[in-house]
Amino acid sequence: MEKITNFLKHPLTLVVCRWVLGLIFIVASIYKIAAPAEFARAIYNYQILPDILINPIALVLPWIELICGIFLIVGFYTAGSIRLVTAMLVVFIVALSINLVRGVDIDCGCFSAGSGEGNAITQAIDTITILTMGEGGLSSTLIRDIIWLLMAIPVLIFQDRWLSIDQWRRSKKLNEHA
């Protein structure tokens, strides 16, 4: 147990989690920002939100993803970013679960309007998902999101911010006081 804790709070683990999540959120945001209509349709297909909220969310959520992604990588406002990322992942997991229970096979709208599109990174994520979990559609997407949520938890709990602007600012402040 102690070994696991030590591994989870190791500065390198935290940096890797931050960078992986940051990269994923940046990549996920790009198509949504470029093609808001397609992302709005994907949200609509989930059949969870009232129509009036669909477009505002389609227009703003991708920017939250992008900014949180960038902030996680550079380690700026890490505490706030990781909480927003965690909240988004929880929302995605709930939305996917609702539609899995309903038995509806919709496109997840995670990285592109349709599966198989997108750039090298989104295709790599798709390939890894299919290789590790099979072509499970929404269920493999759900497992993927849960794994990402698990990666967010160490960053939420442990405060070490190796290789981050936050850390740099903190040490600068300490030096000033000294």
Binding site: Q47, D51, G80, G116
Partner: protein
Amino acid sequence: MNIIKQMAIIIGISLALGILNNIINPNGIAWVGTYKSVDDVSGIVADANAEEAVPADTSSTADNSDSILPNFDTEDVKIYEISLERAYKLYETKQAIFVDARYPADYEQGRIPGSINLPNDMFEDYYPDVGMLIGIDDPLVIFCSGPGCDLSALLADNLRYLGHTKLMIFEAGYPAWKAAGYPVEGAE
């Protein structure tokens, strides 16, 4: 408090960038969208001929193949819901054109051979070209990715609006077609 402030700042910046981008992005959308759902499409009917047409005990093959199309009413155009078996029968006997309402990426991954891709969400971009392939009086079997996918009903409604008169949808869609072992082609 500090963390809440951070989150508020991130959301604030996102909101500002979202608003700004929606002004300058040529693909911008209205802030309040109107979403038509399948419930708003009128005149979807279960096909009355479905029962007698499906059985495989083809007593007289030639006559039977005539009767598997619904009785289309060109005055009051309805959208007929047909079963998977019936869709396959129409496919086998080449009595209808199959129109795939899903996104191009899905179509590329796997499709019904000979089907035409007319993604409903890109209707205005695709119809000018794809519309050339389908006559106004051609019987059309429209489908998407199964129950819960309303693209086929919406596409049928759009095609009806443009004057197409022989519209059928099969709700089971591509996944059921593939699962039934009917012909598919594509990258999968």
